[in-house]
């Protein structure tokens, strides 16, 4: 499979201050021994689909060193590799947003992978991305968004989607104040992880270059949805339940996820 993981790990992590005062968000401790980014890297390794490129910016050297010390060997052992790409080493010398980071990473490649999986480095969950990628290839459109069911009162924390029977995303609201204002009866929340057919993605990203805002959720995804190019992958376990997933980008959810971790009773 010609696939690459792109992990967005360059954010400043202001909502996690003061934990991110001297440390990039992906490296903030989680559990008594690991870091937040371990979950995403572990998922990539377990899914065994392709190489991973970690896009860094804030305190990029620390992330690079962390990858080198802890993760490069396991990836190589599994027949793949993980590498960092810092914003300052990109063509523009800086990433101006999540979509721009992905664009510059891809534009700098001599040969584009057929499929890219774009992942956040501040989510706590276990997922085999192969199912997500298989679903993406089954519909053949530009993008697939990983999605979960959520508590309606939490709508303001998520990108909220209305999804048709076959999984086509019909509308998208970025962090609505209330679920009522969206008018969606059975909403799904975007997990902030995406699968793209690279060739089609590049067309959207090129169109967005030069814009002031260069973010997937705000700028790129809404255009794709308008073009009926986005499907949602309703993430469920074998029992049809939504598995554990938490964006730990702010202090409350970071604390909550650690408390949840202690309550896990079984493997």
């Amino acid at each position: 499979m010609d696939l690459m993981y792109l992990i967005l790990a360059g954010g400043r992590g202001e909502r996690l201050m003061p934990l991110t005062e001297n440390m990039p968000k992906p490296l903030v401790r989680f559990g008594s021994g690991g870091s937040i980014i371990d979950y995403t890297l572990y998922n990539c390794l377990e899914s065994n689909g392709g190489n991973a490129l970690v896009l860094t910016q804030y305190q990029a050297e620390m992330v690079e060193r962390y990858l080198s010390v802890y993760w490069m060997h396991p990836f190589v052992s599994g027949g793949t590799k993980v590498e960092p790409l810092a914003g300052e080493d990109s063509e523009k010398g800086v990433f101006t947003g999540t979509a721009d980071a992905v664009y510059q990473a891809l534009a700098g490649m001599s040969k584009l992978p057929e499929t890219v999986v774009v992942l956040a480095a501040d989510h706590v969950y276990r997922m085999n991305y192969r199912y997500l990628v298989d679903f993406h290839h089954s519909h053949g459109k530009c993008a697939t968004v990983g999605a979960v069911r959520f508590c309606p009162s939490q709508a303001r924390r998520f990108g909220v989607m209305e999804v048709g029977e076959e999984g086509l995303v019909e509308s998208f609201f970025e962090k609505p104040a209330t679920l009522e204002e969206t008018g969606i009866e059975e909403p799904l929340a975007s997990m902030g992880i995406y699968v793209f057919t690279t060739r089609k993605l590049m067309r959207y990203l090129e169109r967005n270059q030069g814009e002031d805002s260069n973010d997937f959720g705000k700028d790129v995804l809404p255009r794709m949805i308008k073009d009926c190019e986005v499907y949602a992958f309703d993430y469920r376990d074998g029992k049809g339940q939504t598995p554990y997933w938490m964006d730990v980008g702010d202090l409350s959810s970071y604390w909550q996820a650690q408390m949840d971790l202690l309550d896990i009773k079984d493997n």
Binding site: P18, G31, S32, G33, V124, W255, M259, L261, L262, I264
Partner: protein, 114 residues
């Protein structure tokens, strides 16, 4: 590779120890390099290099690397940043109610000089 044995959904993460010596550690994950005195640690995550002195009570909290909790201090529902030092004066700045109290950093924590 860090974390593989410490991911959620792994039994190994939660170290449940009841009355080990004179400390009480329950439903908590404690790094092996943490130093805990005759203290109560309940439903908490204690990072590497953390020091918890005698008489302290830590509940529903996350203590990151190198945090130092002085004697007799009570901490509930908080996240302590790396190298935070909590003595009786600093405790006032993180006062809050139990498990429902999310971390608040409105007031600066006392930080160790080291």
């Amino acid at each position: 590779m860090p974390g593989l044995g410490r991911l959620p959904f792994s039994k190994r993460e939660v170290i449940a120890r009841l009355r080990e010596g004179e400390k009480q550690i329950t439903r908590s994950a404690v790094a092996s390099s943490a130093s805990i005195g005759k203290a109560v640690v309940e439903h908490s995550i204690i990072g590497p290099g953390t020091i918890v002195k005698d008489g302290a009570v830590i509940k529903n909290s996350v203590l990151l690397d190198g945090a130092f909790v002085h004697r007799g201090i009570n901490i509930g529902g908080k996240v302590l940043p790396p190298m935070a030092e909590i003595d009786s004066e600093a405790q006032d700045s993180i006062a809050g109610e139990g498990p429902a109290c999310y971390p608040s950093f409105d007031k600066p924590l006392a930080m160790s000089s080291g």
